[in-house]
């Protein structure tokens, strides 16, 4: 019986089953791809976070403790891959005599690493000039002492006479913050600035020079064991990896019983990434679930579109003695075909899609239990979407119901209760509540294992979504049911002389049409909000990456070899849109050494993005105009303003290195504004001034950096720049792609690329499906009506006027309500997810091209639905026999 039924259904009602299967396939495919995204995002976040940690653990041996025993304990820890020794000695200062002058620095440190250190920690020391072996001096120290390879520097040891060493090379210490951190401070403690003056000695030389100091003043020397863990043994999920690493660290601390202090850099890093992982989950919920809900709603709408026919079938089956159970059993057979077919199709399409989209990690996730759950959810959806309406109709139907395909609409309960406006009001209230807490959705406090997500924040957009859908239905219903001039104006272009009759016909189908319009509007709204959010996110990601990198491509040089000297070469590259030099010097604010950036305020904005959020007290253009108008003006970080109690207009005397005598001299600047962030600048303290003034006061116009805006892929421009500059180790070229990978707990750590591809692809498909499929199914369910129209003399053009009338109504309603609610939803999402934006966006970025294509595809799907239905309704008299 079931087999006979399903054969009949497939032969006669194929589109109904195929439509439902398509809805199930869409929902399943979206769920599967979103799951793949989430799994892969977590894994890639962990991998990226781990790769950015220079030294996993820094184990500092307590004076008098047995370093050998600690090393042994480390060796017994199963996941430890390598352990190296690093010796630190505090010194009173360095001194050098060059060019007839003597330079003296303040306190510093002399360090030594064991022989194979560089093999496991290759990124700690970057050679800039001279040899990479022997006595190495940090770049800033070399600048302070004005020494280079071959010069002699005196080390002023604590409690011992000074001793001279000959410099073999100048190096950069990219991870100085970590290398010189104070081990054992509580997690909430303020970060310690690395020493300004650093010298690196070979281990044997360090032992000979500082053995006496170590014995006399053990508090001034330290031994650290730098540990590299086996990263491939870590769990993929950042939260699990954090728990794993911190647990391992605690276990190690228990073994060594207080003989050493441990700086768990890897644990700290993973702890910070936990927040990103939670944001990834939040993004999944905010951006993905509406799509899934839409696909589910679409499936229900498809199955509901055959309600009239189903009622007739059920009535016939009942007349012939079928019981409720038998009818449900037949529907279950139909449901099985749609559910299994849709799930298989959706899962297959998702996996193929995953293979086509790089970074979705199909192969890694394919065995995951999450995927099985998702597939089961797809099957369940198929069955419920089919059986629920059948069961509902069986409960309420009476024999006369079988005759009804159009009936006077009763006002639904939700309309009488004004539920749409109530939901929108509640959405506004919850949104206001989230706003009042500063949109803090995710909390992952540093040093605390527990994390939390404020799921209440989801209520506002969810209520808005529902409220907007119901309001769309209310307003559409008002326009359609009233059969007024607005409805006739909308359908007139399609219906022509039949406008009155077409409008009248449409006005009697309000319920079906408003569902079609609401589905189309929801799909367009989903596509609009997702694309606007994604575009805004990507734009901010670029701004964030530019902030870190300086610009699309930045060439970092040194005072000795400034990148600005190669400006003409860099500006002439084919991929360069604009190149701008920028000074990077150091200046003492009191005793505090800070980064000083010398810029041309009138031109810097052409080479990099300067967000209003970078400045306090005015927008970027206002602040920079103020700087341009004040030659000796300086922008100061908020921290410096607080530390030094500065007021606008105050004179600040900064000590700058003068190129003429290699001495620091006080230079007066006028404090004119606050910079919160600046391209390439550290977060805590820095200064921005006019390059021309800095050049005049220091005797050199050398610009250490060159910022380049790309008119091609930044990675390609970076390649061009590297090729043009040759192999000069002191000139480093970096593009924003590299920066994005290095940025840690901020916007780009959650790679939205895969999610964007999923969302944008599915939203287009769903928008087109919602409009086209709903119309096509509606037309096909009413084939007999169109057949009768044909029989009583309607010409093909007149028949299609009815179809076009519906189509244009769905397009008009869907476009207007969809775009409006989509923009509002995107605005809400950007506000609610402010935590992923750093800096926050100044305005929504509208993807005009995508929206244009999406709307065109919706229109095309409507046209296709009309064209697909047109021949079948006008040429086959068999439909007249249809009941």
């Amino acid at each position: 019986m079931q087999l006979l039924w399903i054969r009949g259904v497939l032969a006669r009602r194929f589109l109904r089953v195929a439509g439902a299967a398509a809805g199930v396939a869409l929902a399943t495919a979206l769920l599967v791809t979103m799951t793949l995204f989430l799994l892969n995002a977590s894994a890639s976040m962990t991998a990226r976070a781990v790769s950015a940690v220079p030294i996993d653990w820094q184990v500092q041996v307590i004076p008098g403790a047995d370093a050998g025993a600690i090393g042994k304990a480390l060796a017994q820890t199963s996941k430890v891959k390598a352990v190296h020794h690093a010796q630190y000695a505090d010194i009173a200062g360095f001194q050098a005599r060059t060019g007839g002058t003597t330079q003296t620095t303040g306190p510093g440190q002399v360090v030594a690493f064991d022989n194979n250190y560089a093999s496991d920690f290759p990124a700690e020391i970057r050679p800039l000039s001279g040899s990479s072996r022997g006595v190495l001096i940090a770049q800033q120290t070399a600048a302070n002492l004005h020494v280079g390879p071959g010069d002699t520097v005196a080390i002023d040891r604590i409690g011992l006479p000074p001793i001279d060493v000959r410099i073999a090379g100048v190096v950069d210490l990219p991870d100085a913050d970590s290398l010189f951190q104070a081990v054992g401070l509580p997690p909430q403690a303020a970060p310690q600035a690395p020493p300004d003056n650093v010298l690196i000695l070979p281990q044997a030389q360090w032992e000979s020079l500082f053995d006496a100091q170590r014995k006399a003043r053990p508090d001034t020397t330290r031994l650290q064991l730098h540990v590299r863990l086996a990263h491939n043994a870590l769990p993929a999920d950042p939260v699990a990896a954090f728990t794993f690493v911190t647990g391992m660290e605690k276990n190690f601390e228990a073994k060594i019983a207080g003989q050493a202090l441990v700086a768990d850099n890897l644990g700290s890093r993973l702890g910070a990434v936990r927040e990103d992982a939670l944001y990834a989950s939040v993004l999944f919920l905010f951006l993905g679930l509406p799509g899934v809900a839409l696909a589910v709603a679409l499936t229900f709408a498809v199955t509901s579109s055959g309600a009239a026919r189903r009622r007739i079938e059920q009535a016939l089956l009942r007349v012939r003695g079928a019981t409720t159970r038998q009818i449900l059993s037949l529907s279950a057979t139909e449901a099985a075909v749609a559910a299994i077919g849709g799930t298989v199709l959706g899962t297959g399409a998702a996996l193929l899609f995953g293979l086509a989209v790089p970074g979705l990690g199909v192969t890694a996730a394919i065995n995951g239990p999450a995927l099985v759950i998702v597939i089961l959810a797809g099957l369940l959806l198929g069955f419920v979407a089919f059986l629920l309406p059948v069961w509902w109709e069986l409960r309420r139907s009476d024999p006369s119901a079988a005759r009804r395909s159009v009936e006077r609409d009763k006002t639904p309960l939700w309309r009488r209760l004004w539920l749409d406006l109530l939901l929108l009001g509640a959405a506004a209230l919850f949104f206001w509540l989230s706003a009042s807490t500063g949109y803090q959705i995710v909390l992952a406090p540093e040093g605390v294992a527990a994390t939390s997500v404020d799921y209440k924040a989801f209520i506002a957009p969810a209520l808005f979504w529902l409220g907007a859908a119901l309001l769309t239905m209310r307003l559409s219903a008002n326009v359609i049911a009233s059969n007024g001039s607005l409805l006739r104006t909308i359908v007139a272009p399609a219906a022509g002389p039949l406008t009155t009759i077409v409008a009248a016909a449409l006005s009697r189908q309000t319920r079906r049409l408003t569902i079609g319009i609401a589905m189309t509007a929801l799909a367009i709204s989903f596509a609009t909000s997702t694309s606007i959010f994604n575009t805004t996110y990507n734009a901010q990601a670029r701004v964030d990456a530019q902030l870190t990198n300086g610009s699309d491509v930045t060439v970092f040089g040194t005072s000795d070899n400034p990148a600005g000297a190669r400006l003409a070469t860099l500006a002439s590259l084919s991929g360069t849109a604009f190149a701008e030099p920028m000074q990077h010097r150091f200046a003492y604010v009191g005793a505090d050494l800070q980064d000083l950036y010398g810029i041309d305020p009138t031109r810097i904005g052409r080479a990099t993005s300067l967000s209003d959020a970078y400045f306090s007290g005015g927008g970027a253009s206002t602040i920079l105009a103020g700087l341009a108008a004040t030659p000796n003006g300086v922008l100061v970080s908020e921290e410096t303003v607080q530390d030094f109690q500065l007021q606008p207009g105050d004179t600040i005397n900064l000590r700058l290195l003068d190129a003429r005598d290699h001495q620091y001299h006080a230079v007066p600047f006028k404090f004119i504004g606050v910079a919160r962030e600046f391209p390439t600048a550290p977060k805590d303290s820095f200064l921005v001034a006019n390059a021309a003034y800095v050049a005049r006061m220091t005797g050199t116009d050398a610009a250490e950096y060159v910022l380049m805006r790309a008119k091609i892929d930044p990675a390609l421009l970076a390649q061009q720049a590297r090729a043009a500059l040759g192999t000069d180790p002191s000139l480093k070229v970096a593009d924003i792609g590299q920066a994005a990978h290095l940025i840690g707990s901020s916007l780009t750590a959650v790679d939205l690329g895969g999610l964007t591809t999923i969302e944008l692809s599915f939203s287009v498909v769903m928008a087109a499906a919602a409009a086209g499929l709903m119309l096509a199914l509606g037309f096909i369910e009413r084939r007999r009506s169109f057949g009768i129209l044909n029989a009583i003399g309607a010409k093909p053009g007149q028949l299609t006027a009815f179809l076009w009338g519906e189509g244009i109504l769905v397009i008009a309603g869907g476009f207007i309500f969809g775009l409006l609610s989509g923009v509002v939803t995107a605005w809400m999402l950007v506000k609610l997810l402010a935590g992923v934006f750093d800096p926050p966006p100044e305005a929504l970025s509208i993807p005009w091209a995508y929206l244009g294509i999406m709307l065109c595809l919706v229109a095309v799907s409507v046209v296709a639905a009309v064209l697909f239905s047109r021949p079948s309704i006008s040429h086959d008299p068999e439909y007249l026999r249809d009941f």
Partner: protein, 226 residues
């Protein structure tokens, strides 16, 4: 003087049977219809009555033979002006009121201005004036069929083809329906062909055609095989 409205010569019609074969529904049928004719088309279910009506009305094309409408113009001009249809099952456009359904053929023919007036006149003539604003779902079967007949008459056709119009009505309602129709058509010159299983209805028609397995076995012209 009677004019010949339709002439069919040797028409046949077959359809795919779903198993790569074909099923023949009409076999070599010859027939003609003149103005003012009253023809009952009888025969068992599946004998080809509906298919013959569809072909006579230009809704379907024969797969063999020849059909002409000498007084009705070209194929494209047949509907709605020359031929009206009435069907067995509910055939009103469900989204339109009874009045709009009746006026619909006139609107389709570009006579929108006269549609409302004609619709009102016809509804009145069929005793249905008070139902003008009702949706088809709100009408009884007999009312719906009278509305359908009024619609078929709206544009003033020369031929009405009715496919079992009383098939879903009880005998009293069917007789009432038919009384109304025949009264309305009297002295109009409009030809009426009614496919029916109801002998009482068939008995009231001047001519009886009998269909059997696709053959037209009786009538003014017969299938060549008989």
């Amino acid at each position: 003087m009677d004019e010949t409205l339709v002439v069919a010569n040797g028409i046949g019609r077959d359809f795919p049977d779903g198993n790569a074969g074909r099923i023949t529904v009409l076999r070599d049928v010859d027939c003609a219809i003149s103005s003012g004719a009253r023809i009952a088309l009888v025969g068992p279910s599946g004998s080809g009555k509906s298919t013959l009506l569809h072909i006579l009305g230009g809704l379907d094309r024969p797969t063999s033979g020849r059909i002409e409408w000498p007084s009705l113009g070209s194929f494209e001009e047949l509907r709605p002006r020359q031929i009206g249809f009435v069907f067995q099952s509910p055939s009103l456009f469900p989204a339109l009121t009874a009045g709009q359904n009746v006026g619909l053929p006139m609107i389709l023919a570009g006579e929108r201005d006269a549609a409302d007036r004609t619709s009102a006149l016809l509804l009145d003539a069929f005793g249905l004036a008070e139902l003008a604003d009702k949706l088809p779902e709100e009408l009884s079967g007999g009312q719906a069929q009278r509305i359908a007949m009024a619609r078929a008459l709206a544009i003033g056709p020369k031929l009405i083809l009715a496919d079992e119009p009383t098939g879903q009505l009880d005998s009293t309602t069917a007789q009432f329906f038919f009384d109304t129709v025949l009264n309305r058509l009297e002295n109009t010159g409009i030809a009426l062909v009614v496919a029916t299983h109801d002998d009482a209805i068939a008995a009231r028609m001047a001519t009886r055609w009998t269909m059997d397995h696709g053959w037209l076995r009786s009538g003014p012209y017969r299938s060549k095989a008989t």
